[in-house]
Amino acid sequence: MSDDIQRVVLQLPASAEYVDIVRLNLYGIASKMGFTYEDIEDMKVAVSEACNNSVLYAYGQADGMVDVIFEVGSSVLSITVKDEGESFDGLDASGERLTLHDKELNDVQVGGLGFYLMQALMDDVSVVSESGKGTVVTLTKRLNFSEEKV
């Protein structure tokens, strides 16, 4: 039983107007699973950043869709954000961390923080981007039990 994974699938227009709908669904699913307030807030930011990338880079000015797939396990939640647009060149899947910590204000570039936030806020992040076939971002968070389950 504990290996059962249930899927909830959302398909939305790749538009900034709909990213809050993803957050609302995430909130519902994650709170039902027993995630803490802080973990849910972390996931909201990470998932929104993945959606933002699809909205901003996948389809240019054209209309497109984004699939968001929630995979609910007994103690783990995986969220996959998938588009079929252009791959996102600026995304460095090697995991280079683009933060501001070692920079002066004059050297700071605005942007590039989204991918870093995904990595920092989730347990696992995988990004598969294939030219012409779109981008698949999978974000995983494990439930932390403070005590053994009864």
Partner: protein, 112 residues
Amino acid sequence: MNTHKSEKFHAKTETVGSVCTVYLTGELDLSVAPDFRLVMEPLVGDTGLDLVINLKDLKYIDSTGIGILLSILKARHGMDVKFTVADVPPQIQKLFDMTGISKFFASQENSH
């Protein structure tokens, strides 16, 4: 198009003497970034004002919102005029600390 946000973004500006405070409410994300830029645009270049953004009722910010705050910091720093953020909720402070933008806010506070 209005998707009837439960936490609809709103910016309210209040000027007392030379201090201009912008109070943000709701969720500052990609969809409302243009609205926020529009509110801030005339204020950022006003060197006669001490600019404060109050985040007490801000429920959520994404990297787009943090990016806008960063460009305001850069612009105000370049003109050598004051810009601070006030009443940052813990969840948002955590993101500021993670991304490293906190140190720029801190240095602004200390430099005047």
